[in-house]
Symmetry: none
Subunit: 211 residues, 2 copies
DNA sequence: CCTGATTGTAGGAATTTTCCTAGACTCGAA
DNA sequence: TTCGAGTCTAGGAAAATTCCTACAATCAGG
């Protein structure tokens, strides 16, 4: 903790400001900073003062005894695709406006997938075919880079004619054959389909649901 | 500034904690919180104390007089609480370590709840007691302003001794009695509990799950 | 070398924060 | 009901903070 006083002392000395003027900067009496450094009078700097000083000297608050910086830049925004517009093959007008989106912590996201954020998108689930795993209205995070030869057991978003559908895919061991199923047993399951028959949009790696 | 005292008072009252235990949470003398609220003794809360309280009650620091959370163009950031640190009454060293957080579209969020973003937080689910609705590792969005007299049927985060737990609450029609249940039938259900017996942190309004 | 202005220093006063304690009260168990 | 343990409350003590002030040192301009 003494380290903070020395650091502040050095900063003031280097800049040639003098204790008095720095005290005035804080809106305190002229002896305030001198007391802090030489007498250790306020054991800690007030939160507000610390901010002011860190800003003034252009150093991190941490140097003056502040909290470790919570790295504020690691936020990745993933847009929610408008399914109505994106499902068909017709050219999609990329409307900039009105897209809702989710933000994920970068570290958290890297925990989930190694995919680049550009290949991620969010799609709303329609219908009950994937109950109880996914319900109508859920939002699923889709990794568009995770298909093709990397296809493996799991839940995928597929393109079917002009719509996006969510299905569970199982790989038949050793072959090119795959099974496409809906978790809801009321829906049919297709066995032994060829990979080339299905258009995989991407793998579902996360979903959110309102309660 | 008085608003902060009232807000803290309300939080303590609603949760039914009492001033003394909250004072102990801060590692202060038992009269400390009472003095702050009734006498206005420390004009401001110490930075450290504010963090601890915000974490404990699952609200944003802003509510307790902290710095305003930057809302970047329609995106609301909700912090993930460090449950290990926030749940218990034992004096807790509020860990400064970088909190992960999620971002929600403001419009989307308002669709989900009318609560102010400052009263929202995210908690990780531990254990299988809420299977199949919630699984271990899920992240739930908690509305800390939605309890007390507004308690209604639904899933809530409760404080139990030194841990946070997620349970389903059902209100017995017409009375103060409530039922606390786990969705997993392997866990017991408690009937006819009095509202004052449980410490409600907030209502679960959304969750996310990795697949 | 003087003079006046400003600074750093340190003693101590004024104020605020923090703690301690005793009394009134509530609640549950005996 | 009585007792004991816990709470909230308020008064005031103890400790920390913030401020004030006088004094010595420094420095620039005469």
């Amino acid at each position: 903790m003494e380290h903070v006083r020395e650091e502040l002392d050095r900063l003031i000395l280097k800049g040639g400001y003098g204790y008095a003027s720095i005290s005035r900067l804080l809106g305190r009496n002229p002896a305030y900073v001198q007391q802090f450094i030489k007498r250790g009078s306020p054991r800690k700097l007030d939160d507000q003062d610390r901010k002011t000083l860190a800003c003034f000297f252009g150093v991190d608050e941490q140097v003056l005894g502040g909290p470790a910086n919570p790295v504020t830049d690691g936020m990745v925004e993933i847009p929610v695709l408008d399914v109505e517009a994106s499902a068909g093959f017709g050219a999609v007008a990329a409307s900039e406006s009105a897209h809702t989106r989710f933000g994920f912590d970068e570290r958290w996201l890297r925990h989930l997938t190694s995919a680049k954020s550009a290949s991620l998108s969010i799609v709303g689930v329609k219908g009950d075919s994937m109950e109880p795993t996914l319900s109508d209205g859920d939002e699923v995070l889709v990794d568009a880079s995770d298909h093709g030869s990397r296809l493996r057991d799991g839940i995928y978003v597929l393109r079917s004619d002009d719509a996006l559908v969510v299905k569970r895919i199982a790989i038949k061991p050793g072959g090119r054959q795959i099974t496409i199923a809906s978790d809801n047993p009321a829906y049919p399951t297709w066995h032994d389909m060829d990979r080339s028959e299905v258009h995989v949009v991407g793998r579902v790696i996360w979903f959110g649901r309102a309660l």
